[in-house]
Symmetry: C2
């Protein structure tokens, strides 16, 4: 206030955004967020504009963008936000797949008996129980898989991974889904 606008010191601004002081010092060092002014004693003086920029930075961080990308977007240095976010979105898809893969690996190693009552994953058994309770017969579920596989194979795969089904079994399910016929047994 006081006519010249609000200013913040590092720690105050950091607290305002739930960051640590050193994080802001780091942002300063790499040029992502420089305080527009310094006090006579050399202390950093951030103004409302700086705070607004920091708000943007935090927002983009929430999407998981790295600081370099954020810098490019904010300074309009050839990077368009939409394009960067779209790229990040795809990256996230890949990462999620990887982590889920690790989860399934662990699961298939330990078997669910050792992960006592995890509640963390939806298992195939849980899912089919739910569907059966909703009136789905085995035949219905089969038809549903077939349709799913034909309509959106990628998403079918994702869904099966979501259920933490082992690779081989996923492969089998997709195979008979694609063929439209379940093998004997």
């Amino acid at each position: 206030m006081e006519g010249l606008g609000t200013t913040y010191t590092v720690s105050v601004l950091a607290r305002k955004f739930g960051l640590s002081r050193t994080t802001l010092l780091y942002y300063d060092k790499i040029g992502l967020l420089r305080p527009s002014r310094r006090q006579e004693n050399g202390y950093r003086a951030y103004d409302a504009g700086d705070a607004a920029r920091l708000a943007q930075i935090c927002a983009y961080r929430r999407y998981g963008l790295n600081l370099a990308d954020i810098g490019r977007i904010l300074d309009h240095r050839g990077s368009d936000a939409k394009q960067v976010l779209a790229r990040r979105f795809e990256e996230l898809g890949v990462q999620i797949q990887e982590l889920r893969e690790q989860q399934r690996q662990i699961l298939s190693l330990m078997g669910s008996e050792h992960l006592e009552r995890t509640d963390l994953v939806m298992s195939k058994a849980d899912w089919t129980a739910l569907m059966r309770a909703a009136g789905f017969s085995d035949a219905d579920m089969f038809a549903w898989h077939v349709r799913f596989e034909h309509q959106a194979p990628e998403q079918h795969l994702k869904f099966l991974k979501f259920l933490c089904i082992p690779d081989e079994e996923i492969h089998q399910i997709r195979a008979w889904s694609a063929a439209g016929a379940k093998p004997d047994g």
Copy 2:
């Protein structure tokens, strides 16, 4: 070879396991995998035992364990593999949630129009179309959500996030699912 058993140099062993030479050098430095012998010229000489240990390391890495944990497990320093893997499993669940959250944030910011035909996520519309095609009426889906919410609320939440539904909508769906009655409109 020559009767004293097979030995490998760094690069050879690295290639054998699809790792880079520097990775093995790093493992040596942190004490995770020390070659049991050195040649006269100072070159690292890994034997079959070392290779076996490396195989274990790679296996654990596939589950996403960090090197410190792997070291503790292999050297039996108070860490039991099952317990560490279980911990890692939960960690993975949290991380996946976070990444998916980022994905949903991006999606809700950009709207699906900008992510042209991504195929990367299953949308609510895709899902309901599939269920309708399988003979589910709106009322059936409603009942299904109610059952899901009561039977496994955590997993219901996960599933809704899997469909990349915005937070507020998830909240609403869960609210009426829990209540067992859909509000007007």
